[in-house]
Amino acid sequence: MSATPEPYVGPTSSSPVTHHILSVLVENKAGVLARIAGLFARRGFNIYSLAVAPAEGHARFSRITIVVDAETTPLEQIVGQLDKLVNVVAITDLAPRDAVERELLLATVSYESDTRTAVLDAVASAGASIVDVDAGAVTIMLAGTPAACDQFERRLESFASVELHRTGRVALSRLGSQKN
């Protein structure tokens, strides 16, 4: 699901600290994602990544994790406009230091006999796992912090033919940090 005016471009850990994570609880109704995407598009707010899933086992609500750019638009304005959407139930603003963030990376890497070991080394040292194998190619999964995913992505760049997909972040408040 792409709601981004700009596509997701590369490393997030090196991206500015003005990135904020909004954890948005929404009613699980038809068209809600379109309403949110439409709001961001028409108000010129930037989305870096967006992840959606049913919330806490509810059929009634979904949780959307949106990484926004709070430099081009003040966060207060983004939150204020988002909050006006009738289907938006609650918004938690997670400053990166107050959040536990994780992302999933899947990559299919082809190898020759001479690069096979290097690929397997990369997998092992990043703590990634192999989830699919074929002659001359493996599909690798890494679940980790955005920084770990960035690092792993850079590492994989040295190999030939890499197909890579990242989910975008999901996040929850760090235990002991203040929710707002």
Partner: protein, 571 residues
């Protein structure tokens, strides 16, 4: 009790106390038009769906109650998009019901299918696509609740044809909880701490101004505003959306601010050290170039929509909530500013030097539009409602008529929708049949929606229309004259094509014309003597007349351009 979805929809509207709706039927909405025959609700059959939307807006603005419109799917729905956008910009409560193709056909490009909830998602407060007949009562109740509470606005309900035809067991939600709006919490508690900080700012202000916006009318806060203003002695300006919120005749009223505002209203805001914004949103038409707007002013921003706070101008104190409640809280907390004598001396000097003015009418030349408006006002009964289109005539109507009470000025502010005047006046007259309703219209605007005078005649809605016929898209002509070296590009309309008198007569209205100054009072008197059918007057006005004062686009409010006669190096 078993009902069809269509019956349940009409019954739900009755439950909401709807007495009138504006619309035009078609295939997808046909099932709903059937039970309408047996309903107490009056339906006004328009000639174009845009008319239905603007009539519903006029009704809402004149009465404070939500306007209701109903149209069919596809082109019927897209024809009402402009009024929905207009209502969204001006926070006018509307409930718009659209027919939709049968649920099973949605997504197949069926005949007259269009994704109206998608199209209107950015220009409604919320919209619904109904998925079963049994949820219709809840959705209609929710639509009215959303449209009328918090910051009001338009809500659209899209009803697939099969759902209107299917059966349901009648029920009616008895609590807000049953509306199932877990994400909607319009009410905020008064922040006493913020009230105290606002009170402190007010107490120490030397040049305060009450900047009154449309939200003051929406929250019905006129009485509280009057009490607060009189107790504190603070001067008042009312924006284009707030005309009538504070009496124009009141000595503390400086008039309208903004691009075509009164010199003193504009300049008072510029020189102010404290702006108390009441349901206003620092619109670009009020602020002019933002970085030069009211440079010394602290801001107390009162608004029920918290997204308005700090959107355009940083607030020193934000009071989130209903204007009326906040004014009451402020009034309880505020001590009066120490002395505003010096401020008032300055304001009175500006008023003296730069009153609203225009060139005297000549006996033989074309009419002065401003003097036509004043002539209508002189003969108008107190409480007369004025609607307008968009353009020069709108600005003159906002400037030269004296608005004394809420609901007497009906216009399109945020969107600036040409063609708003005639249908909005019809809606206002339907809502307030006891009042005289005049439309001050432009020749360009009139041509956009005049067909609704057929509706007005057929339905017995006797409005009065004054066309300030300058043969031009005058406002655009003014910009071309002032900023494009008098290079007039596609703005000429002709004074007598169409023949407005004959057109009026063809629509069953009385048509009158005034070409010279001597005709004006007589023709207005004649219009006022007609009570049963609509009247249209073709006033032949001076095409070269311009609206002053004017803050040129992109300039700061310090660069306000006054009437040529007032320019001797002072301005």
């Amino acid at each position: 009790m078993e009902l069809t979805g269509a019956q349940a929809l009409i019954k739900s509207l009755e439950q909401q106390g709807v007495d009138v709706m504006f619309g035009l039927p078609g295939g997808a909405i046909l099932p709903v038009y059937d039970p309408l025959i047996d309903s107490t609700i009056r339906h006004i059959l328009v000639r174009h769906e845009q008319g239905a939307g603007h009539m519903a807006e006029g009704y809402a603005l004149a009465t404070g109650r939500p306007g209701v419109a109903m149209v069919t799917s596809g082109p019927g729905a897209t024809n009402i998009v402009t009024p929905i956008a207009n209502a969204h910009m001006d926070s006018t409560p509307l409930v718009v019901i659209t027919g939709q193709v049968a649920s099973g056909s949605i997504g197949t490009d069926a005949f007259q299918e269009c994704d109206i909830t998608g199209i209107t998602s950015g220009i409604t407060k919320h919209n619904f696509l109904v998925s079963s007949a049994s949820e219709l009562p809840r959705i209609i109740a929710a639509a009215f609740h959303l449209a009328t509470t918090g910051r009001p606005g338009p809500v659209l309900v899209d009803v697939p044809k099969d759902i209107a035809q299917s059966k349901m067991e009648w029920w009616w939600p008895s609590t807000i909880e049953e509306l199932d709006l877990p994400g909607y919490r319009p009410n905020v508690a008064v922040d006493e701490d913020a009230v105290a900080r606002a009170a402190a700012l007010i107490a120490s202000a030397e040049r305060p101004v009450l900047y009154v916006g449309g939200g003051t009318l929406k929250s019905r806060a006129s009485a509280e505003l009057l009490a607060f203003a009189e107790r504190t002695g603070i001067p008042v300006v009312t924006t284009l959306m707030a005309r009538g919120a504070f009496p124009d005749s009141h000595p503390q009223h400086l008039g309208m601010p903004g691009m075509h505002g009164f010199y003193t209203a504009v300049t008072a805001m510029q020189r102010s050290d404290l702006l108390i914004s009441l349901g206003a949103r620092f619109d670009d038409r009020v602020t002019g170039r933002l970085d030069g707007f009211a440079p010394d002013a602290k801001i107390i921003h009162v608004d029920i929509d918290k997204a308005e706070i700090n959107k355009v101008r940083r607030a020193d104190v934000a009071l989130i909530g209903d204007v009326r409640e906040m004014l009451t809280a402020l009034d309880a907390a505020t001590s009066t500013p120490t002395s505003l004598d010096a401020w008032w001396r300055q304001l009175r000097a500006w008023q003296e030097e730069f009153p609203l003015t225009y060139d005297e009418p000549t006996t033989d030349g074309p009419l002065r539009p401003q003097s036509v408006i004043e002539a209508i006002a002189r003969q108008a009964a107190p409480g007369t409602i004025v609607a307008s289109g968009v353009g020069q005539h709108q600005m003159w109507a906002a400037q030269h008529w004296k608005y004394e009470e809420p609901g007497t000025w009906i216009n399109s502010g945020g969107a600036g929708t040409m063609g708003f005047g005639v249908p909005a006046a019809i809606g206002a007259k339907v809502g307030r049949p006891d009042r005289t309703v005049w439309t001050i219209d432009g020749d360009g605007c009139f041509q956009m929606t005049a067909q609704e005078l057929v509706t007005a005649r057929a339905e017995g809605i006797p409005i009065k229309v004054a066309i300030l016929n300058n043969a031009y898209l005058g406002m655009v002509r003014q910009w071309q004259e002032m900023f494009y070296d008098e290079r007039y590009s596609e703005v000429y309309l002709s004074p007598d094509l169409p023949d407005y008198v004959k057109w009026a007569e063809a629509m069953g209205c009385v048509g009158l014309r005034a070409t010279s100054h001597q005709d004006v009072d007589r023709v207005i008197a004649e219009a006022n003597s007609v009570h049963d059918v609509p009247v249209v007057i073709d006033f032949r006005t001076d095409a070269s007349e311009k609206v002053f004062p004017m803050v040129p686009s992109g300039a700061t409010n310090d660069d306000i351009v006054v009437h040529p006669r007032q320019r001797g190096g002072n301005a």
